[in-house]
């Protein structure tokens, strides 16, 4: 590696504390650091408030504090074409997409990466909680050491080319350490709340957001035995295992979404967190990405996550001829949801992942 002052690192800055500390640490280490804010979504709310403008102001303040140049780039078009269109298509199909995975693959580690290289960057850094380990010609991606913050789930679609010139300085740290550094350096974003939810929706009401883009078709709620339990506002507003917002009272255990019948536009509900219909013991995933770049030929054992911030489950992966896999769980898993990603791990190494297409119900009662 060349001298640090001659190594240019472009940091993707969101205006949050994580990317602020990322830039700060790299600058401290002596790199030639440039901060760039990505604007991927254009929306001003009814009060004229645009959160992107506020976030950019924070980027400006932090970069000014740590003494690095900053710029902003606009990827609204790319985001719309590559991420938001997919997001809507998935909802149309009654699935629950994960736009953050696509955003990482197509925007942060594609459009932004190219932009950074066009600025002469040797590396691109972000505030993700993940680690990269370079093994000769190969780059592995490992979980962040903070179990609670690990973000490899969202980074499962990255390729070798994308990871080769990426730095994740926060992967070695606990979140509270990051906050402490921000406070010690008196960074303007030290006390800023972490953003939650899907970035372009923010804190807003999800239903009203989605209804701006997709027509909602109201329908019935039924139990698996066909007993009507009221009505739903549109299948796209519900996800498997959801309890909130069903409005079914009465005696006994609480009610959950256990399935969707798209053909009849019926939301299937059942009682009890552990309702059997919510359990599956295998899935089929498509468009599987292997981070190493080598597609496995033979079945193998590893662990898997079916959604973010969930315990790993031991599984066996059966690679198929194309880029699909069949994944068989050792134990039935609850609320594995089509549209989300299945992400594979070998201990701390993230192997890759794919989109969950089908699930195989664990119970004898197969409804579809």
């Amino acid at each position: 590696m060349t001298a640090k002052q001659d190594t240019r690192v472009v940091v993707g800055m969101s205006g949050g504390v994580d990317s602020s500390v990322t830039a700060h640490l790299l600058k401290q280490e002596g790199y030639d650091v440039i901060g760039i804010f990505m604007k991927n979504w254009d929306e001003t709310d009814e009060n004229g408030f645009c959160s992107a403008t506020e976030d950019y102001e924070d980027v400006v303040r932090v970069c000014d504090q740590i003494g690095i140049p900053y710029y902003s780039v606009n990827f609204e078009q790319q985001y719309w074409d590559k991420v938001f269109t997919y997001f809507l298509d998935e909802y149309k199909k009654g699935r629950t997409p994960n736009p953050d995975v696509l955003c990482n693959k197509e925007i942060k580690f594609k459009a932004f990466l190219e932009h950074a290289f066009a600025l002469g960057a040797d590396y691109v850094a972000t505030g993700h909680y993940a680690r990269v380990r370079r093994n000769g010609g190969r780059t592995d991606m490992l979980r962040g050491v903070d179990d609670n913050k690990d973000q490899t789930y969202f980074l499962n679609a990255l390729s070798q080319e994308q990871l080769q010139r990426v730095l994740f300085p926060l992967g070695e740290m606990e979140k509270k350490e990051v906050r402490r550094i921000a406070e010690e350096a008196e960074l303007a974003t030290a006390g800023k709340k972490d953003s939650t939810g899907i970035c372009f929706i923010g804190e807003r009401n999800f239903k009203s957001f989605l209804s701006q883009y997709l027509p909602a078709q109201k329908g019935k709620m039924e139990t698996l035995d066909g007993e009507e339990k009221g009505s739903h506002d549109g299948l796209m507003y519900y996800t498997l295992g959801q309890r909130q917002g069903l409005g079914i009272g009465g005696p006994g255990e609480p009610w959950f979404v256990v399935d969707k019948d798209l053909e009849r536009n019926v939301l299937l509900v059942g009682q009890g967190y552990h309702h059997q219909q919510l359990y599956s013991d295998a899935l089929e995933a498509s468009q599987v990405n292997w981070i190493s770049g080598d597609r496995p030929e033979e079945p193998f054992r590893c662990s898997a996550k079916f959604r973010y911030r969930q315990q790993d489950e031991p599984v066996t992966v059966y690679p198929q001829k194309d880029d699909t896999v069949r994944v068989v769980f050792d134990e039935p898993a609850r609320a594995v949801t089509p549209g989300q990603f299945v992400v594979f791990y070998d201990d701390d190494v993230c192997l890759g992942g794919g989109t969950i297409e089908q699930i195989e119900k664990a119970a004898a009662v197969q409804t579809q």
Partner: protein, 383 residues
Amino acid sequence: MNRIYLDHAATSPVHPEAAEAMRPYLTEMFGNPSSTHHFGRQSRSGLDRSRRSIAAAIGAAPEDIVFTGGGTEADNLAVLGYVRHHRPKEGGHVITCQTEHHGVLYACRQLEREGIEVTYLPVDEYGRITPLDLQEALRTDTLLVTLMTANNETGVVHPVEEFAAVLNDHPAVFHTDAVQALGKMDINVQTNGVDMLAASAHKFNGPNGIGFLYVRPGIQLDPLLFGGQQERGRRAGTENTAGAVGMSRALELSLEHLQERQENFTGMKQKMSEQLQASGITFHVNGSGTSVLPNVMNISFPDADVEQLLMNLDIEGIAVSSGSACTAGSVEPSHVLTAMFGDTPRSRAAVRFSFGLGTEPAHVEKAAEAVVRVMDRMKAAKL
């Protein structure tokens, strides 16, 4: 890093002599020009001398000069102030053009909200409109024509005298935004026929936050600000004496050796064109083929991502700007170039190089080299 500043059309450094002239008015002769005591008289004297000097520089009388807080305020005062004072009960019409500065355009939008009709004349691919275009747009109820002297993005110069001549036998008054032009070309209100003219000090090496509006005698304006009777009731607020002194000194300096300086800039532009030509990259000099300010060079690089190009040039130490305004990463294509070329790569990928105090041929040469270098780098970066 030796940084090179080629963004003088955005703002320019204060000339050291202008700064020197201002200094005593900040620290010693700080009085309020309206005060009746010694300190007030000192300040009043500086203000009056500045007014006389500026008036002389453009062929006006001192009482025709209204000091303002800058170019935008001067444009607003001319457009809003004139039309609001003279509007009839019904109707009322204003003519401007699509490539005007937002200080004029958005004042016109405001007039539309107030019930005035506005014609936004289109331009050709050189950014021009003809006197005939103006003639044809005139109506009996046209109150005001506002057309800029030189464009801030492209430097394209309008035939202001010819526009004024069209209005000879029409009651409409003629305002020109000369913010970009003053100090870069000869301007004389006795010969160019304009009724109002807006200027801003920081474009010609004066300080920020001061400008002026020339108003031909007899023209009535509604004020924008209400308060004291300063500027003959046309602009309330304590006068910025130091700013006025700095502006007048800067204007005097910018008119000394004007021709020689502009010839130098023309030579630098020529050299830059040749360098880019030799490198083989695709570029178009916008407005070339018509009259353009010698210190402004607006170049489209249709193969380039202009955001990337600007960042790269900044990283290389070259300060320039694109025509487009950029807030939190939203790049609006330049309204000026869109008016000239439609929504095309040429209008989206333009960079403005503008020369001024301290610009040397070597700077321009280095800038051209940097452009070629980063264009190569950008090409190689696609994943």
